[in-house]
């Protein structure tokens, strides 16, 4: 069994995140850059399966700028066996279409059984890469799984949707995405961190993958404008002197909110 986990570098949601107002791109200097937590959970799922099933290969795939090596190594330190880092200046500001084409090309180079991703990234909130990959790779897709069972040749799980909960299954190879309901990641231990330094980390460019960033046949999404919203100002702050509940009720009634 070969499992590929997609991980993505994002600005940490526990800090301030900024966009460059001239380029519209994420200001990578402004925030701490981390692996998106949902990607770590995806990796945890793969590693848990590998722990219980000898002969399982877990590999990381990430499309990220040059400096992302450190976060990818963290995934190796958690226990993934190898990693592929797709990095190319022409991918700067890539939209979902180009991102999906590039990742699909990287996945076509390996014989995978299962691709696991997070359901939605915290920066772009797109949540569509898994679907795009399934379409491009011609494999079944099961998204937004809140529990997952991997078996030989198949994957199944529960899929909460607006109106209820589905139980779904697919034959392998397949693409799945998972939700935050899955267990959080293990911490890399010292042995893992040391071992990660010797694990294979392959770097690929668009040329290696035979992808052209400015393919005229594909429509691309472009940003037209970007503006920063003025920060919200604080209003009234009172200290409870025994009547704050009544004052708050008056505020709500006055503003027709009660």
């Amino acid at each position: 069994m070969k499992i590929i986990v997609l991980v993505k570098e994002v600005p940490d949601t526990y800090g301030d995140r900024k966009l460059n107002l001239e380029t519209g791109l994420a200001d990578r200097e402004a925030s701490e850059i981390v692996i998106d937590e949902i990607g770590e959970r995806a990796l945890e799922l793969a590693l848990t399966y590998a722990d219980a099933n000898a002969g399982t290969e877990v590999a990381i795939l990430s499309l990220a700028p040059e400096g992302a090596t450190a976060t990818i190594r963290k995934g190796l330190a958690m226990g993934a066996g190898s990693a592929t880092h797709v990095c190319d200046e022409a991918l700067r500001g890539a939209d979902l279409g180009l991102t999906a084409e590039t990742l699909a090309a990287a996945l076509r180079r390996v014989e995978f059984d299962l691709v696991i991703t997070g359901n939605v990234s915290t920066d772009g909130s797109g949540g569509m890469i898994p679907a795009m990959l399934a379409e491009l790779l011609d494999v079944p897709l099961a998204t937004g799984l809140s529990s997952v069972e991997i078996s030989d040749g198949a994957v199944s799980g529960t899929r909460p949707v607006e109106s209820g909960v589905q139980k779904v299954s697919a034959n392998l190879p397949a693409v799945i995405s998972i939700t935050e309901a899955l267990p959080g990641p293990r911490f890399p231990n010292f042995k893992g961190i040391m071992a990660a330094k010797k694990k294979p980390l392959e770097m690929l460019t668009l040329a290696d993958l035979g992808i052209t960033a400015d393919n005229p046949d594909a429509a691309r999404s472009i940003m037209l404008t970007v503006a920063e919203k003025p920060p919200r100002a604080a209003g009234v702050k009172i200290i409870d002197e025994g009547d704050a509940g009544e004052k708050l009720a008056a505020f709500l009634i006055e503003n027709r909110l009660a």
Binding site: M128, T143, V161, K237, D240, G245, E246
Partner: protein
């Protein structure tokens, strides 16, 4: 077949377990009507298409294409095939789909198949000289961004509950869409359990009022206070991630970057410190009220009305003051 309008906006809506249209339908059709002529593609389970089509017309669809799937247990692929057939016929200026789990699957697969551009998680649409433009609220509402496609109709997924506009009802005009299955491999839906509404409270996503509780509530039992205030106000119940992690309330009620984003008229934060992670999911609310015993809690930086005090004293008093007024 008559021609479709030149300013057609193709709106993709699916039906729920009882054949009713998804909750996002009124907003999607409302957004479409503001930038063109809404044409609905109704993705229905067998036998529910015509009733759903009438519902779509009442919500503003000038014409409705009905696609009843022949294979209801195939996950997603029949919907994508239907969208591909509909887009081919309608030649729309834009395609609008809910940014729900199923909507994202359809949008992503269709865009990959047709090489269309995606504008994800839009909170509004407009039209300029060159076509339809999507409006986004990025990084938890810190930035406003607009996007569109380099050419062709953009596929725009619209954040649930973000559109207030509603379209004028149209006379029913529907037809069955002929769909050629793509035979793409699909996952199977083996079973489905409908959610039973365990509460009469409004749903968190899209609620006009939200009362949310945090770690400051102290325990699952004491978290009930949040529900009491919510019921007094007719509000939905939300929670911070800390309260969810502590097990006070299920994860489905989590407000924040990795939970539900709300833009309610009123947001009351009880015992929530207001980490950036949480604020990213609620700071676009119109009026924010916070009650917290820590006067340095960051939530006060964005609160319109802040109370430094004990939630277990302030909130019961608030509830009785509001109840007294009702009598």
């Amino acid at each position: 077949m008559t021609e479709f309008p030149r300013d057609a906006i193709l709106v993709v809506v699916e039906t729920g377990p009882s054949g009713e249209l998804e909750k996002a339908a009124p907003g999607l059709l409302g957004a479409a009507a503001a930038v063109g002529t809404p044409i609905a593609l109704v993705l229905a389970s067998p036998g529910t298409g015509s009733a759903a089509a009438e519902e779509a017309a009442a919500l503003g669809a000038a014409r409705v294409l009905i696609a009843e799937t022949s294979d209801p247990s195939a996950l997603g692929v029949p919907s994508v095939d239907a969208l591909a057939a509909a887009a081919e016929q309608v030649q729309p200026d834009a395609i609008l789909i809910s940014h729900s789990l199923n909507g994202r699957d359809v949008a992503g697969r269709y865009a990959a198949r047709s090489r269309a551009a995606i504008s994800a998680d839009a909170i509004g649409v407009s039209r300029d000289d060159e076509g339809v433009v999507a409006h986004h609220s990025i990084y938890g509402g810190a930035y406003n961004v607009t996007s569109t496609s380099t050419f062709g109709a953009p596929v725009i997924t619209v954040r649930q509950g973000s559109i207030e506009a509603r379209a004028t009802a149209q006379p029913p005009a529907s037809e069955t869409l002929a769909v050629t299955p793509s035979e793409k491999p699909a996952a199977r839906i083996d079973s489905f359990e409908e959610a039973v509404a365990a509460t009469s409270r409004p749903e968190l996503r899209g609620a006009a009022k939200v009362v949310a509780g945090g770690r400051g509530l102290g325990s699952e039992e004491q978290f009930a206070l949040v529900g009491q205030l919510a019921d007094t106000l007719g509000a939905a119940v939300g929670a911070s991630r800390a309260a969810v992690d502590a097990g006070y309330i299920p994860q489905s009620q989590q407000v924040g970057q990795t939970g539900v984003s709300v833009s309610s008229q009123l947001y009351i934060a009880l015992g929530i410190s207001g980490a950036i992670q949480h604020r990213a999911g609620m700071q676009t609310a119109k009026t924010i009220v916070a009650v917290n015993k820590d006067s340095d809690a960051p939530i006060f930086e964005i609160a319109d009305f802040g109370v430094v005090g004990d939630v277990f004293k302030v909130v019961p008093q608030l509830i009785s003051a509001l109840e007294a007024r009702k009598k």
